[in-house]
Amino acid sequence: MELTQVSPDAVTLWRLAGVLRSGFTTVMLVVPAGVALKVATELSAWVAVGIVLAAAALLVIQAIAWPGLTWRYLGYGVRDHDLLLQRGVLFRRRTSVPLNRIQHVDTHQGPLERFFGLSSLLVYTASTMSADAVIPGLDEQTAESLRDELARRGGDDGV
């Protein structure tokens, strides 16, 4: 079955979120680690700054490059009897959630997602406390119609 890809706008959203995360990580972890390295090893200040900048650059590059790959390998499809979800770049996971096992379905929007008009869909069965399947980066209308369709087709919980 051909899987549907999520909104291309999701790549921009994930990049922006990744850059913000990288900035936060740099300030909270990388810079203090650089200072600690300088104090502990008596490195010259320029080398320590270089290491910090290189680490920060790597984080930003990862934040910009990775979302494209994430988007490429993320896909979903609603079949007759199940929701099929595929995700993961290095570690790939294909999930089949039988429609008759769905307990409830949530849509979730953070501030950045709201700005881009995107939504995440969370599908719950009786198996775990957390969602069995999460589809990020859907546009709002798709997420809502998918949520309503899946909730309507949910059935016996099998427990």
Binding site: L90, P98, N100, S127, G158
Partner: protein, 481 residues
């Protein structure tokens, strides 16, 4: 306005008045147990009688809260079966009303500790799917009231009466004292020894730190060895005592529709597990237990079982089952299984799975050796011995793995040192996941994870295409209960 008929008001029932006394001890204990560290430092801190008296006064206050809690519990808890559902309300400041559909009850347990027995009472625990705690808890009912309640819930669930069920009851497993002793001896002990050692050292240091160090360094090899042996003996003793207390006179029976487990020395538990609610059985065979010809079998529903360990599980955790009986007992719990994992041949993992796990193990062992060399110098290279050892361990693990998927069950066996065999009812499958890491992709492998409520079972690594086909086969179709 709705025209639906309104059920006549059913009067609320309360706990037995003796529940005040029965609940007093546990509630006081619950209130003060969080302050064990205070007692520890008051006794060993060297602060003298002043500290002890201060802590005593503080703990008396906390215990007073436990007493108030027991009174409020008795005064506010009410229950009834109304309009086909069990309703429990309780609470003084925070009031809670809980409604439980009898059809959703996964398993029921009747518990009698020493106090319950002295007053002829019983604690009723009803578990539904999910949640971290027992959903329906009635801490002290008279035996008659508990019988009436359970009979009413059975009737609402369309179950046969207790008298009819009793007639069809037949024994499945009984566990005697020698087997329980063996169970205790083959349970985890190294952790207990470490804990005992840690507590002993801490206590010595608190009493007289310098003297403790001086005395410890003056001990000869023989004394040290004797202390280690003593610690192990103590640990084994604790382990055996726990096993005997918890599983005393363990007995599993089955009726036409349910499993019944009974066990316990001071606190006697009687669990009832409807066969239709059984999701999986898990046979645990640690190498020592396996060597003496036994394994532990857990029968799990969507209740709390999967979140507790084998000593706490409220469902049927059968401590010792002869290995030749593990398959039979598993099939008693899941009658449609039609396969005995200890007799019938299982499918092996993919041959390339061994190569993949060897690569992974080699990488981990080399990394550890590298760290050792960095940490302790050239002598750290001794850790390279881990490389061939890890190969051998992976080979043993690979050989122990097996799986089968039939029309009714998924069977998976993994682990050499701690062999675990899961038998999972296919009609309970919630979702199926196919995972593949970079090394697995390189070898064309995939791993299936099959989830039921509260737990998941991983199959051994098989060919990716075969795993993908199995995934299609495993998802339940509409109409599957």
């Amino acid at each position: 306005m709705s025209d639906a008929p309104v059920a006549a008001e059913t009067p609320w029932s309360s706990l037995h008045p003796s529940s005040l006394l029965v609940n007093l001890g546990p509630r006081i204990w619950r209130a003060i147990k969080g302050f064990w560290w205070l007692i520890f430092f008051a006794v060993f801190g060297g602060g003298g009688w002043g500290d002890l008296i201060g802590v005593g006064v503080g703990l008396t206050g906390v215990a007073g809260l436990g007493v108030i809690s027991a009174i409020v519990h008795f005064a506010t808890l009410r229950y009834r079966v109304h309009a086909g559902r069990l309703e429990i309300k309780q609470g003084l400041l925070n009031r809670q009303v809980r409604v439980i559909d009898p059809e959703r009850i996964q398993n029921a347990e009747l518990v009698r500790n020493v106090a319950h027995r002295a007053f002829g009472l019983v604690e009723v625990r009803l578990e539904t799917a999910g949640g971290m705690r027992t959903e329906g808890m009635l801490s002290a009912l008279s035996e008659d009231a508990a019988g009436v309640l359970m009979g009413e819930l059975d009737r609402l669930r369309g179950r046969e009466s207790e008298a009819v069920l009793k007639r069809s009851e037949e024994p499945v497993v009984e566990v005697g004292v020698p087997e329980l002793v063996a169970y205790g001896l083959t349970s985890r002990t190294v952790g207990t020894v470490a804990l005992l050692g840690g507590v002993a050292i801490q206590a010595l240091e608190l009493l007289e730190p310098e003297e403790a160090v001086e005395r410890a360094s003056g001990l000869g090899f023989g004394v040290m060895l004797a202390l280690v042996v003593l610690a192990f003996a103590l640990s084994f003793g604790i382990s055996v005592s726990v096993a005997l207390t918890r599983h005393w006179k363990y007995r599993l029976t089955r009726t036409r529709t349910e499993l019944r487990a009974e066990s316990g020395l001071f606190t006697r538990r009687r669990a009832r597990i409807p066969l239709e609610k059984v999701q999986l059985t898990l046979a645990d065979e640690p190498v020592l237990r396996r060597l003496i010809g036994y394994g532990t079998l857990s029968v799990e529903t969507a209740g709390l079982g999967s979140m507790r360990d084998e000593n706490q599980s409220s469902e049927a955790s059968i401590p010792m089952v002869p290995r030749e009986d593990l398959g039979r007992v598993s099939q008693v719990a899941i009658p449609v299984a039609g396969i005995d994992a200890w007799v019938d041949p299982l499918d092996p993992p993919h041959p390339r799975a061994l190569r993949r796990s060897l690569y992974g193990a080699t990488g981990r062992a080399l990394a550890l050796a590298g760290f050792s060399i960095l940490a302790v110098g050239p002598w750290g290279a001794v850790a390279l011995i881990l490389v061939p050892l890890s190969w051998f361990a992976q080979y043993l693990d690979h050989r122990a793995q097996g799986w089968r998927v039939t029309d009714h069950v998924v069977l998976s066996r993994r682990g050499f040192w701690r062999r675990r065999t899961s038998l999972l009812a296919r009609d309970k499958v919630q979702s199926v996941h196919l995972v593949q890491g970079p090394l697995m992709r390189r070898h064309g492998l995939g791993r299936l994870l099959v989830r039921v409520a509260g737990t998941q079972v991983a199959l051994p690594d098989i060919g990716y295409n075969e795993a993908a086909a199995l995934m299609e086969q495993l998802r339940p179709m509409p109409g599957t209960p």
